[in-house]
């Protein structure tokens, strides 16, 4: 909403208040003023000129040499506009003028001819092209004949004005009109306001004798007021009216249309003007459209209507889409002589739906959607009739044609001052409350210590006690509310075990060298299930904005891979990222997908990069596996953790494993398949994804201290040769189970394949540690336990012992 302060001052006295201060007061008490537009742009030396003579420039076809009376002198100005002509009053920027774009006007010579200034278009005075009347859209602007040469052109054009740009919240539709703004400003400044006085002389002829009105859809259209004005002369509006509209961001057309728009801006009540003769039937009938019915709207587009959409008809065919846009067939034109003014209440929901379905939003529809003031419907029609009489020379027929079943009773709200003060934590006296409500012109009575309020229909946001609390608080001033803290049962607060363990996981992974990533939940159809630990029916958007963001993901890996590619492409070749986030699986009983929190990581490039001491190491499976083990250890879950080789789509078949915890699959880990890596411009890249929700739900034992061993341990090394396919994990398990309770630790310290080892075999070396917490083991005891291990390795694992 653009609020011209010049226009506003017709309803409320704002003299003596700096516009910036006014804006601040309005903002602080309820309506955010986004910006202040100074329409003068500090222009000077812009005056009215009279084109005394205009001849073609001998050297240039497109230029005209004009002799212009600028008051103190008649001077020569070269003008390139095609519509300049002798006898016009025009806008002249004199030498020394600075125009809004920063253009400085100087004396100049154009093709040998002197030019002392510039004849201006409205655009050159910073009026948006879309607001300039069509007749002058392509050339200079022509002022009315009454303009006085040499006088300042800015006040004449209403440009000595500052406009407040409101950022209105949806509840404050009352401020979508100048009068509504006046009520607000009046309250802020503790002043009354001046409403327009509507007086005109009506003819003897009655409107109802010329026009029939029938409403067949009263739910969507409970009130309709039609007035008939005869003998109008359609022409350009007077300058003041055009100025008002342009300041409000509306393009002037002709006086009849401009009056409807003016009243729309003034009262917040959208109006429509029909050409009575073009209606043909002398009838207005409002009904729901027939399915597939067509109408060509004012923007020259043919619209196909649906059965729930409300239309105005002439009894036969649609002449307007109610509250949204008029029809071309009954548009007011230069030859129009009789006008029907429509002022109606259309149900907000109906207009909103239709405007959305047709993709048509207008100043009218935005107001109807929010609900116009029922008590202004008729007044607005009268105001328009008055202006048509005054400006367009019209003869207003007596009375209106009205159908009115609209409830206009105000909402009554009863609230006690104590309730208001308790909710605010304040002690505002009753008199103060009454004064505030009085300032807002909200009728209030204090009865038995309670406020009884009849909320004005213009303020549709006032419905309940809390709305009154807000009115009082905002006008009293939020700055005056004291600062206290809630007095409630004292609660410990804190993280849940799940949340706390999730922080542990993050801290571990970051400590291990991974940066936390945050990627999108929405992905493409192809990627939604790639690398998923578990797949289920996908969750798809009804109306995605793009194919790439159309489905909810079931794996975090694809977007982490994208992030890796993004970094590698920017020469960050070593990437280590992790993410915790939800995947979305299938549909639960309540219709929502199951959201399962996962943790995933991607690593590529160098893991250790310390070249000058010859310490560099590329990422590999075991780097990431170590991180997974460490992460599980930080949760007390490393016991029972196992990895089992597997084959998964998109993964390297020899370097991929499922991760289990006590036999339950909780994740996957491995290298991205080389062809997939290539597709993504990645070198060797390893990923893991685990079901974090499942992991964090596992309850672990309390952390209890185990005594530090007081007796020395003994260690024994074993070197084995086994077939290449034998897994180290299996050998370790054999050693562990044979070693009994004296075996405290098993560590692989060597792995070798190649020279000196038979083809198809490999050599491994383990270091075993034996100890008893209660005493020092004797050599015989160690030999005995170790002998069992050696025996098991040969018999159970088919290992050949070396050396």
């Amino acid at each position: 909403m653009l609020v011209s302060t010049k226009w506003l001052s017709e309803y409320v006295n704002i003299e003596g208040i700096a516009v910036a201060d006014l804006a601040e007061k309005i903002t602080r008490s309820g309506i955010e003023v986004d910006s202040i537009i100074d329409r003068s742009h500090d222009m000077t030396n812009v005056v009215v000129g009279y084109v005394v003579e205009c001849v073609k420039h001998p050297e240039a076809d497109k230029l005209n040499i004009c002799q212009v009376d600028v008051g103190e002198e008649t001077t020569q100005i070269i003008c390139g506009a095609s519509n300049v002509a002798a006898g016009q009053k025009v806008i002249v920027a004199r030498p020394g003028a600075v125009l809004p774009g920063g253009m400085k006007i100087k004396k100049a010579k154009l093709r040998g001819e002197e030019s002392n200034g510039m004849i201006c278009s409205l655009q050159e005075l910073a009026i948006e092209g879309k607001l300039v009347p069509k007749a002058y859209a392509e050339g200079i602007y022509v002022l009315p004949e009454s303009a006085v040469p040499g006088s300042d052109a800015l006040p004449l054009l209403g440009l000595d004005d500052q406009v407040l740009e409101f950022d209105l919240t949806p509840n404050r539709s009352d401020a979508l009109s100048m009068i509504g703004v006046a009520y607000e400003v009046g309250a802020i400044l503790s002043q009354g306001i001046q409403l327009p006085e509507i007086t005109y002389t009506a003819s003897n002829e009655k409107a109802e004798d010329m026009l029939k009105l029938r409403i067949d859809a009263k739910e969507d259209n409970p009130m309709y007021v039609a007035k008939v004005v005869k003998n109008v002369k359609v022409e350009a509006s007077p300058l003041w009216l055009q100025n008002r509209l342009m300041a409000a961001g509306v393009r002037p057309h002709n006086n009849v249309v401009d009056i409807t728009n003016f009243v729309l801006m003034e009262y917040g009540q959208p109006l429509h003007a029909f050409d009575y003769d073009r209606l043909e039937t002398g009838e207005i009938a409002v009904r729901l459209a027939e399915q597939g019915e067509k109408i060509t709207t004012l923007d020259d587009a043919e619209r196909t209507l649906e059965a729930h959409q409300l239309v105005i008809t002439n009894g036969k065919e649609p002449v307007a889409i109610a509250g949204v846009m008029g029809g071309l067939n009954t548009e007011v034109h230069d030859g129009t002589t009789t006008v029907v003014i429509e002022s109606a209440y259309f149900a907000p929901g109906s207009v909103r739906r239709t405007s959305r379905e047709l993709g048509l939003r207008s100043d009218a529809s935005t107001r109807f959607e929010k609900g116009v003031d029922p008590n202004r419907v008729e007044a607005a029609a009268e105001r328009a009739a008055q202006l048509m009489a005054e400006i367009a020379g019209g003869e207003v027929l007596a009375g209106s044609v009205i159908v009115d079943e609209l409830d206009k009773t105000p909402v009554r709200i009863t609230v006690s001052p104590d309730y208001i003060n308790n909710r605010l934590g304040m002690k505002i006296p009753l008199e103060e409350m009454l004064a505030i409500l009085d300032g807002l012109q909200i009728p209030t009575e204090a009865v038995n210590g309670k406020l009884i309020i009849d909320a004005p229909t213009r303020r549709q946001d006032l419905r309940i006690q809390e709305d009154i609390i807000e009115e009082i608080a905002r006008m009293y001033g939020y700055d005056l509310i004291p600062m206290t803290l809630p007095v409630t049962e004292s609660t410990p607060g804190g993280l849940s075990p799940y949340q706390s363990k999730r922080r542990t996981v993050r801290a571990f992974l970051e400590g291990a060298g991974l940066y936390q990533a945050l990627t999108y939940s929405l992905t493409s159809k192809e990627q939604a299930q790639s690398y998923a630990l578990e797949t289920a029916p996908v969750t798809e958007l009804l109306m995605p904005m793009s194919e790439d963001r159309s489905i909810l993901r079931q794996s975090l890996i694809p977007h982490l891979l994208e992030a890796a590619t993004y970094n590698v492409a920017r020469r960050m070749e070593s990437v280590a990222l992790y993410e915790t986030g939800s995947v979305f699986l299938g549909e639960q009983e309540d219709g929502l997908p199951q959201e399962v929190e996962h943790v995933a990581a991607v690593i590529t490039g160098k893991w250790v990069d310390h070249a000058w001491q010859a310490e560099t190491k590329s990422v590999d499976f075991f780097v990431l596996k170590g991180i997974v083990e460490g992460m599980m250890d930080s949760l007390g879950l490393v016991e029972g953790l196992s990895f089992e080789q597997t084959v998964l789509d998109g993964m390297h078949p020899g370097r991929t494993a499922n991760i289990f915890q006590n036999g339950k699959r909780i994740g996957l880990i491995g290298q991205i398949h080389p062809t997939e890596q290539k597709k993504r411009d990645l070198k060797n890249t390893y990923v893991m994804e685990m079901n974090l929700a499942k992991i964090l739900a596992i309850e672990t034992d309390e952390l209890l201290y185990v005594p530090v061993p007081r007796f020395p341990s003994s260690s024994r090394d074993i070197a084995l040769v086994v077939s290449s396919g034998t897994s180290a994990g299996m050998l370790r398990d054999v050693i562990r189970s044979a070693g009994g309770k004296l075996l405290k630790d098993v560590r692989l310290f060597d792995l070798y394949e190649g020279d000196n080892v038979e083809e198809g075999k490999k050599s491994l070396a383990f270091s075993l540690t034996y100890a008893d917490p209660e005493r020092t083991l004797t050599d015989e005891e160690v030999v005995k336990a170790h002998g069992k291990v050696l025996n098991a390795l040969t018999t159970e694992a088919g290992a050949l012992l070396r050396g």
């Binding site: 949806p170 909710r423 004291p482 939940s521 958007l541 920017r570």
Partner: protein, 345 residues
């Protein structure tokens, strides 16, 4: 015999003097003082001496041995010092060479902001509540006083999955769910999470972003409690000198509704580019829980009241760290994320 001893001493001292390192000095020690050395030999030969001479010669041998030992130890100490100095010299390094990098990662800046907010409110006795990102229209809108067809739904163009299910457009449905679940009991929660709106991604919009909200419900919760809580929060998050101001606003789920500005943490309120010359920065929206919201969740608005507030971690991170483009939070450029590793005390 005495002369022989003196000669030995002179000889030994000369050898000690000549020894240039620890090893050769040790050889001298073994040669003269060792079990097979001449002094030991002399002591062994004492048996041949007449009994009355033995004590005299014995004492003399001991004196010579002690004196040689003492001089040798002195010399040894000097040579050892020399040796260690030589070793230290050799071991000297260029301390300006780069260190071996200690690998580490860090929080995403949004997590950092969220955890900072969480931790402040945890210290005030709040719990952290979370909820689904795919939400029912009921919890996302209706339970928050946004019935179907409500004009404020315009502000929140949403990603729908079906007519009744959508990606949540704010974290407020977690409040609605918590209220419903608490069955009338008091509440103090913070709800962080991802939210989604149908916006094209650009420097200031992201179809996915994060929110963090707070909710307090109890008997006689007042607007002054909201103001006091937010003021403490602003000081904790943005510095002790921060002042707050509340401006009227509108949210369907609160009444009255306000927006909170803080005095600019960059210029202190004088006006700069961060606060767009106003001295104030808009940080969050808040208000008293709308009675309809309370009612729908089974609370009696005549007895129970509450306040709620919500803010965008992206906005806070952008303001705090001077990030100019919201997309940085979602591209996961390591050169961006890795900047948020250090403390800010």
């Amino acid at each position: 015999m005495e002369a022989q001893l003196e000669l030995l001493k002179v000889e030994a001292l000369a050898k000690i003097e000549a020894a240039s390192d620890v090893k050769s000095l040790n050889d001298v020690r073994v040669a003269y003082l060792g079990k097979k050395g001449p002094i030991t030999d002399l002591l062994k030969g004492m048996g041949k001496l007449p009994a009355e001479e033995r004590p005299k010669i014995g004492a003399l041998v001991n004196v010579i041995r002690e004196s040689v030992t003492e001089i040798l130890e002195d010399r040894m100490a000097k040579l050892e010092e020399l040796a260690i100095n030589e070793q230290l010299e050799k071991e000297s390094i260029d301390v300006t060479l780069p260190g071996r990098p200690a690998r580490t990662g860090n929080h995403h800046p949004l997590t950092r902001v969220v955890e900072e907010i969480e931790d402040f409110f945890i210290s005030m006795g709040y719990e952290i509540a979370e909820g689904p990102e795919v939400e029912k229209d009921y919890y996302n809108f209706e339970a928050l006083n946004l019935p179907k067809g409500h004009p404020a739904r315009d502000m929140q163009d949403s990603f729908y999955i079906s007519e009744d299910i959508l990606l949540r457009t704010h974290t407020s449905p977690v409040q609605a769910r918590t209220m419903e679940a608490k069955g009338g009991a008091p509440i103090k929660i913070i709800c962080p999470g991802k939210v989604y709106r149908r916006d094209s991604d650009d420097a200031t919009h992201s179809h996915q972003f994060t929110q963090i909200e707070g909710l307090v419900i109890g008997e006689d919760i007042r607007m002054s409690d909201l103001k006091g809580t937010l003021s403490l929060f602003a000081k904790k998050m943005f510095g002790d000198e921060r002042e707050i101001r509340l401006r009227p606003s509108f949210f369907p789920f609160t009444e009255p509704s306000v927006e909170m500005d803080i005095s600019c943490f960059k210029c202190g309120g004088d006006g700069c580019n961060v606060c767009k010359k106003t001295g104030w920065i808009e940080i969050l929206g808040a208000g008293m829980v709308h009675p309809n919201v309370l009612k729908m969740a089974g609370y009696d608005p005549a007895v129970v009241s509450g306040f709620a507030f919500g803010m965008g971690p992206e906005r806070i991170a952008m303001l705090k760290y001077g990030v100019e483009d919201i997309r940085h939070f979602y591209t996961n450029d390591v050169r961006f994320v890795s900047q948020f590793h250090r403390t800010e005390a």
